[in-house]
Point group: C2
Chain length 456, copies 2
C-alpha cells in the first residue's frame, strides 16, 4: 500500500538534527582558502579571530569534521520555531497539471521571516560563550538584521546594526522590528565611525551601500572592546549552521521513502542554497545517490551564470578576507532588484567550487518572471513568498512543466526561504505593471571583472 | 514516567477535526435570537438568506446540531496551513519564574496572519457551492479582508472589499496583499454605492468608518446579482468555523494528558475567543470538567466589562439584524487603539450569554500595558504578536504571576491569534514612548447606552 504523504511533513523534536553537517569534509577538492586582504596569504585562525568570534573562526577553517555538534542551547532555541515543515505542493501540482511531485521546505514561519535565524542564533550563542558584550553587523533588506536582533535579545547581547541608509528610510517597519528586539539600528553611512565620516564628507547626502555598511560594522566591532562582527551569508560557517535545513529535509524525505530528483534553491551569498543541498551533495560525493542541483539567481546579479571564478574582495571596502568565488566584481553595484537578499556580487566559496566541478547547475531569471511565479504560488499555495524565495519557485515551476512535456514523475524539492510581508512595495510595482528588469550588459560586466585583484 | 511535552505540539493530519462544534446545541439557555431591523421579529432563514449565503444562514440559525461536518474541500484547504501548533511557552515560564504551565495556540502561521482564514475559507466555499459570482465585505485593519481574498482566490470567486478609507491610506501594504490575491479593494466611503455617495455628500473628505463600510458592502451585495455579504466575526456561524481552534487545542492537550485550568482569549467581536473556548465550555456545560474562561478586551472598547446586555444594532447603518449582546452602543466610535480588530462596539451573542450566566469572565487592559506584554513576549518567545493577540498575552502573564505568588501549578492556555507584521506603526509609537491610552468616561458610555433601541 502506498504511504499517504501529508500536506506538511513535520518531524518530531526527537528527529531534529543534533549536529550540523560540514560538506567540505566530504569534498575531495576543497574550496580555495580565504586570503588576508593585505598579505594575500591564507587567513589564519588569529587573523579571523580579530574580527569574528573565535569558535566561529574555527568553524570557518574546519575542513575535516563532517559533523559538528549543535550546542544544547541552540537546539532549544531551534525547538521554538523548528522543525520547519516540508510541504507537499499538492495544489500547485494540480494547477500545473504536472506528473512531477513538488515539495518545498518552508523557512518563513518565524518572526525574522526567513532561514537567517538558523545562523543568527548560532553566532549569538558563540559570541555570548566567548563573554562578548555584543556584536555588529550590516543589513540591507533587513532579514538578517531582524534575525540577529532576535538572537541577541534571546542571549542578552548588545546588537548594533548598520542599515543601508536608503533601506533605513524606505523600510521603517523592518527597522522597528529590530528596535522592538532591542537592537540599535544606525543608518549607514553614519557619523559614528571614521569610515562613515569619510564617506559622508566625500558624498554628502548619499543613500549608502552594503559595502559601506560592512565597513562601518567591522570598524565598530574592532574598535569596541568586547565586540565582534557577524555576517549572515557568504561564509562557510553560515552554510554549516544552515545545514539544519537540508538535514531536516533529508530526514523528512527518508521518513516517507521519498527520493528527490531535483533540488532547487535561490542563491545570493549562498546561505540557504548551501544549507539545503549540503547533505544531499555529500551523499552524492560519497557515491550514494545522484541529484540535479540548481542555483537560481537574479538576472540582474548573475555571479554564477555570468561571473568569473576568481579571487575577489568580499566587500567594497576591501577590509574583509579575499575569497575565490564566482563574482561579477566587488565594485559592481547590482541594480535595485526587489530581491535585496540576492544582490551580492559573489558567491560562497564551497558553492562556487561545486559549480566549477559541474555538480551545481545555475540559472537566472528576470524579476517580472519571478513575481509572476510568486503571485501564482501565493494564490495556489496560500503563502506570500519573499522575492528571493520566488526565484526558486520560478525554477521549480519550470522544472515541473518540463515533466509535463516529458511525462516524467520527477520529485522536485525547493527551498522556500521566507515570506514577503515586508516586500509589498515590490508586489505593488508588479501589480501596477511598473516592475522593470535589469540585465547587466556584457560590456558592464567586462569592465567590472577587469578590476578583479590579480591573484592565483 | 512523566511524558515530555515538546515545545510545539502538532497534531497529525488524521487527528484534525472532521466536524465543527456548535456550542449553542449544548446550552440550556440559548443566546437571544437575531431580530429583523425593521419588524423587530426574529430573523428567519429567508430574511438572512437575502444578505448571506443560504447554508451560512442555516448555520446561523442552527441551535440543535452539536456537530456540523466540515466539507472535504475545506478540510483540504485547512491542511495547507493547519493544524496550528499548540506551543508550550517554556521560555516565558522560565523568565517569569512561575510554577504555572503556559500554552498558546498560535494561529499566525499563514499569510493572512491570523485565525480569520478558518472562517473565510468556509464562507467562500458555501458561496461557491451556491453558485455565486462573488462576495462583498468590509475590512478595517485588514486581517479579515486578507483572509477572505485568499479564500476567494482559492475558489475562484470575485471578492470586493470595502476598506475604511483611513486604513486604506495608512496601510497600503495590507491593501497590496489583497490585490495580490486578486481582490478589488475600494476605499470607503466610495462613489460606487448610494450610501457611499450620500455620506460623501454630507461629509466631504471623511476618512470613513467600519459602520459605513459595512453598509456599502451590504448594499453592493444585495444590488448585484450573484453576490452575498460575508462577515469575519460577531456571527455565530463564524464561531462555529472557528471552533476548529478549540477542537485542535483540546485534542492536543488530551494527547499529552494535560488538563487546562484557565483559558484566555482576546475579544473584539468574539471570533477567536469563541472558537477557542467553545469545546471546553461544552464540556463544562455537560458537567465533565471545570475551567476558568477569561475574555480580554481593550479598556478603550469595553463591551463586556462596562457595556450593557441588551438588543443593539450590529452596524451603525442599522441595516443588519439586531442582536442581544453586551454593547457600548452602535453609535459609539471607539478610540483609535492599535488593536483595530478589537474595536467593535458589541460582542457575539453566544459569548454575551455565557458572560451573563457567569461562565465567561472578562478583563480589560490599556494599550501601553498590552504593548509591554507584546514586546516581552516577542523577545522571549520569538514571535512578534498582533496587538489584538497581545491582550491575551497580558492576561496570561498576569495569571501566571498570580501563580507565582500562590505557588499554584496551574495550566494556562491562551489564544495567540496572529502576528504583528502589519502593526509596526503601533510598535513604533510604543518604542518612541508616544502610545496613548484611551478610556471612555462613565458619562460618554451612559450617553451612548441611552441611545440603545428599546427592545425586550
Amino acid at each position: 500500500m502506498a504511504i499517504e504523504i501529508p500536506y506538511k511533513i513535520y518531524l518530531e523534536e526527537s528527529e531534529m538534527p543534533k549536529a550540523w553537517y560540514n560538506l567540505r569534509a566530504d569534498m575531495k577538492v576543497k574550496p580555495a582558502p580565504l586570503l588576508d586582504p593585505k598579505t594575500h596569504k591564507p587567513a589564519t585562525l588569529d587573523d579571523l579571530s580579530a574580527v569574528f568570534c573565535r569558535e566561529l573562526a574555527q568553524q570557518e577553517l574546519n575542513e575535516t569534521d563532517a559533523y559538528i555538534e549543535i550546542p544544547e542551547e541552540i537546539r532549544n532555541f531551534y525547538k521554538m520555531y523548528r522543525p520547519s515543515p516540508l510541504v507537499r505542493a499538492y495544489c500547485l501540482e494540480k494547477k500545473l497539471g504536472t506528473p512531477a511531485k513538488i515539495y518545498y521546505k518552508f523557512e518563513g514561519n518565524n518572526t525574522s521571516g526567513s532561514h537567517k535565524l538558523n545562523s543568527a542564533i548560532a553566532q549569538a550563542y558563540y559570541a555570548k560563550k566567548q563573554g562578548l558584550k555584543g556584536v555588529t553587523t550590516e543589513t540591507g533588506a533587513g532579514q538578517w538584521g531582524t534575525a540577529l536582533s532576535m538572537a541577541c535579545s534571546y542571549f542578552d547581547l548588545d546588537c548594533r546594526v548598520f542599515m543601508v541608509k536608503v533601506s533605513y528610510e524606505q523600510k521603517p517597519f523592518r527597522r522597528e522590528v529590530m528596535r522592538t528586539y532591542g537592537a540599535s539600528v544606525t543608518p549607514s553611512p553614519s557619523e559614528t565611525t571614521e569610515i562613515g565620516k569619510k564617506i559622508l564628507a566625500a558624498h554628502p547626502g548619499t543613500g549608502g551601500s552594503l559595502g559601506c555598511a560592512v565597513s562601518e560594522a567591522v570598524e565598530c566591532a574592532v574598535s569596541n572592546e568586547g565586540y565582534r562582527y557577524v555576517l549572515g551569508s557568504v561564509l562557510n560557517q553560515v552554510l554549516l549552521h544552515q545545514s539544519v535545513i537540508g538535514l531536516e529535509t533529508k530526514t523528512a524525505l527518508e521518513k516517507y521513502g521519498i527520493k528527490a530528483d531535483v533540488i532547487i534553491g535561490c542563491a545570493g551569498g549562498g546561505s540557504n542554497l548551501g544549507g539545503l543541498i549540503s547533505p544531499f551533495v555529500g551523499e552524492q560525493l560519497r557515491g550514494e545517490a545522484n541529484y540535479k542541483f540548481i542555483a537560481v539567481e537574479p538576472a540582474s546579479c548573475p555571479s554564477l551564470t555570468r561571473g568569473k571564478y576568481a579571487y575577489d574582495y568580499a566587500d567594497t571596502g576591501m577590509i574583509c578576507p579575499l575569497a575565490k568565488m564566482y563574482t561579477i566584481g566587488a565594485d559592481y553595484i547590482p541594480a535595485p532588484n526587489h530581491a535585496g537578499g540576492l544582490r551580492y556580487h559573489g558567491m560562497n566559496t564551497t558553492l562556487s567550487e561545486l559549480h566549477a566541478q559541474g555538480i551545481l547547475e545555475a540559472v537566472s531569471y528576470q524579476q517580472t518572471d519571478v513575481f509572476a511565479a510568486a503571485e501564482e504560488f501565493a494564490r495556489i499555495e496560500g503563502i506570500l513568498p519573499a522575492p528571493e524565495s520566488s526565484h526558486a519557485i520560478r525554477a521549480a515551476i519550470d522544472e515541473a512543466m518540463k515533466c509535463k512535456e516529458t511525462g516524467e514523475e520527477k520529485t522536485i524539492v525547493f527551498g522556500l526561504t521566507g515570506t514577503g510581508y515586508f516586500d509589498l512595495a515590490g508586489y505593488k510595482n508588479y501589480n501596477d505593471g511598473k516592475l522593470q528588469n535589469y540585465i547587466p550588459t556584457d560590456e558592464e560586466l567586462a569592465q567590472s571583472l577587469a578590476k578583479l585583484p590579480n591573484i592565483g
